[in-house]
Subunit: 453 residues, 2 copies
């Protein structure tokens, strides 16, 4: 309540300096429709939207009816007024980049699947909060130049923040892609929230083994109607890769750095969200990305560590089930071993990934609970909370005790990928195969020990 009141009172949120002076003088507020007259250069009408926290002081931002946001240099503005008071103008009289409105239809056909998240969100101008609201169709019309890259078919699969996406969503999404893969799409783009994007890309990397088209997961860190939004660039890159990439597999398309030039195409099993807010929050771990998108070009990264030549056996192809009774546990000092007993007894858990310390360790006093889990048939796999590097249970006594208890060391799978793989392995294969499949690098999800970036 407090928050809402605070936000709605602050009706020129984010505007400072020159821009603020102009807005104050012109008596317009955020959310109002305005006309900007820049002498002989252009006139444009749109909705005044808030500026991002660290925005510069020299531009105001209007949302056009087309969905575009444009930033206008206040020094170029001759007059600014609410609509009705000024000259009537044609909306969407975009002053720059007319070429982006070219609707050249490409031969490539891409299925643009929406699941929710910031990339498909609108900001609420009253409260400042972001809600999942846009459909794939809305976004397609908001970024019309997508059509110059490929013919786009939009589909809303579900609409939720990605923190609510669970293994059962992974399964329905996988089944939906398989069912639509019979149509002649060059590739699939999945718009998804960034919170659990890396879990989803890892999960799909396994369930989509055998799919001949690439699947590109894409999100954005800033919603599409903020001036600093990364959604249009990320989405264009994702569509480009889905349309033209000659390789199959599951990838993540997100900003490679804080600039608006390069979009990294990460391997779905080797990527992690490593920052809460930066546009380049996603990073490849113990690996390099598969490619970079720069403008209309896909630059394949020859230094990358993924093995595109791997040919997974037919046993792994298009297995779309995911087990729900799996758990990811981060060990910590003083960890209460009864949590493990509870997961066995009440949680009916079938598999657990432990993020141990260092090379893959836990304190000696929880090893008996781990023994208990394994003796009841629960799979226990070890990763490291270090995130980078391989576990090794042969160096220290603690690791040897864990090996004796039947814990399976998982190389350099980090927690998120190990967890997604476990859910897939337990959903599709018999228990006697679990340890071998979990340790195998089926699609390059394990990378070489000596990879150093």
């Amino acid at each position: 309540m407090d928050i809402e009141n605070k936000e709605s009172e602050n009706s020129l949120e984010g505007y400072r300096g020159l821009a603020r002076e102009l807005l104050d003088k012109s008596k317009v507020k955020i959310g109002q429709r305005v006309i900007v007259d820049a002498d002989d250069e252009f006139r444009v009408e749109g909705l005044l939207i808030p500026r991002y926290e660290h925005a510069d002081e020299e531009h105001i931002v209007l949302k056009l009816k087309s969905g575009y946001n444009i930033g206008i240099d206040v020094k170029k503005i001759g007059s600014l007024s609410r609509t009705g008071k000024g000259h009537p103008v044609k909306e969407d009289n975009i002053p720059e980049s007319p070429k982006i409105r070219v609707f050249t239809r490409s031969a490539a056909k891409v299925l643009l699947m929406s699941t929710g998240g910031t990339i498909a969100s609108r900001i609420d101008y009253r409260t400042g909060a972001v809600h999942p609201a846009l459909s794939a169709e809305d976004l397609r019309s908001a970024i019309p130049e997508l059509e110059s890259i490929a013919s786009i078919e939009p589909e809303v699969v579900f609409s939720t923040y990605s923190e609510n996406i669970s293994p059962s969503h992974w399964q329905s999404l996988s089944e939906r892609i398989v069912s639509r893969s019979k149509e002649r799409f060059s590739g699939f783009v999945i718009m998804i929230g960034t919170d659990t994007l890396a879990y989803v890309s890892a999960a799909l990397s396994f369930s989509m083994i055998g799919l001949s088209q690439p699947v590109i997961c894409v999100g954005s860190q800033r919603s599409s109607d903020r001036p600093s939004s990364d959604s249009a660039l990320n989405l264009k890159a994702a569509v480009l890769v889905a349309a033209r990439f000659a390789r199959s597999g599951v990838y993540v398309a997100m900003h490679a750095n804080e600039n608006d030039d390069d979009i990294a195409i990460h391997f779905g099993t080797r990527v992690r969200k490593n920052h809460t807010s930066r546009r380049d929050a996603f990073r490849s771990i113990d690996s390099d990305y598969a490619a970079l998108v720069r403008g209309q070009e896909i630059v394949i990264n020859d230094q990358q560590n993924g093995d595109a030549s791997l040919k997974p056996s037919d046993d792994f192809k298009l297995k779309t089930k995911f087990e729900r009774s799996v758990s990811l546990i981060k060990f910590h000092p003083g960890f209460d071993s009864r949590v493990l007993d509870f997961l066995l007894r009440e949680g009916k858990v079938k598999g657990i990934i432990i993020e141990g310390t260092g090379l893959g360790h836990v304190s000696h006093n929880i090893i008996s609970s781990i023994n208990g889990l394994i003796s009841e048939g629960v799979f226990v796999g070890m990763t490291s909370q270090c995130i980078w590097g391989h576990v090794d249970l042969n160096v220290y006594d603690t690791g040897r005790d864990l090996i004796r208890a039947g814990v399976v060391p998982l190389g350099n799978l980090f927690g998120e990928t190990a967890f997604a793989k476990l859910s897939w392995v337990l959903g599709n294969f018999q228990p006697e195969k679990w340890p071998a499949i979990m340790q195998e690098s089926i699609i390059g999800e394990q990378t070489a020990r000596l990879f150093v970036k």
Copy 2:
């Protein structure tokens, strides 16, 4: 069992190429005492020790009685034989670096506290495993040049792998430092395993507020009798900083990169073990390190983000208790909310740190369990599993729901530091003060939002 057999059969482990040929020809095995005769240059006697996995093929490594390891170029070796067969020589006839044996006693006095871990470990030559074995006294004699930096007083506080170190150890270690701080030490060095070193450095950062001397936590990634060991350099840097640093506070001294030149002195609350095996595994998060040690020099980092000018109130000084009933939970897709109910009902937990997704989120279906915890007086703090960046519960609906439930957002404390701070806050302060103290940046444990390295 399998492992031990495998290892003991492999009696020239790690030796390949030229070095292996010489050893085969000379019929010596790892663990045997040998004499090396390098024509007119030197003779030396020592124990043949295994080589590190990726070692070169041109050196053999001997452990001398002094504790030194030396690598000897096989091309320089005239003869190699087991002791008893060759010429008797004086042990420790070290062919290089005689200057490191200068015993200049310094005015500064440093307490060298040992708790176990790789830095105080020996390799078992039979099995290849590493055991905590060396005492602080052993290490002091193994690295005699420490005495040229400061007068060293060794003390074994306990001896365990750091994965076994719990909040009760943090408390006993804190109490021990306070009790010895009345003596005239320039500073304290704590040798500790790297697995939970960052948890311990964070914990001590709080319990040692008000201590006038610096406390330097130091570990090593490779045990002191491996040729690639980082223990001597890390330890020398730690002692140097403990002897000479003009600032108080708790720091971590570890390799700044893979070379043997710079040792980073990280802030105790801003450091994390980010790699399972690299020597530069420790990294400062959303911060820069406080200083670099290069040779005998301490280079203060003016770009660093810590605020040495902070003056914590007397209320925070030398509070050495740590609450044991605290938990660190990493949220994951499909997280079973009953784990939270269990921690409340059976675990009698008093505080929980959640590593949420992105800006600090969890799925909507566990919010009622969080409500349940908070209504019973349990402190619930939110961090992000992204590790880098600030949480922000005001951007999305999920965050607002968590704020309403009473969850406390913890800025850019990452999980490990948040957990250690929580244990300290709950151990020393009344419940009504918990939220404010957890959100305050008492000693610079929170860093600025705009810090970008």
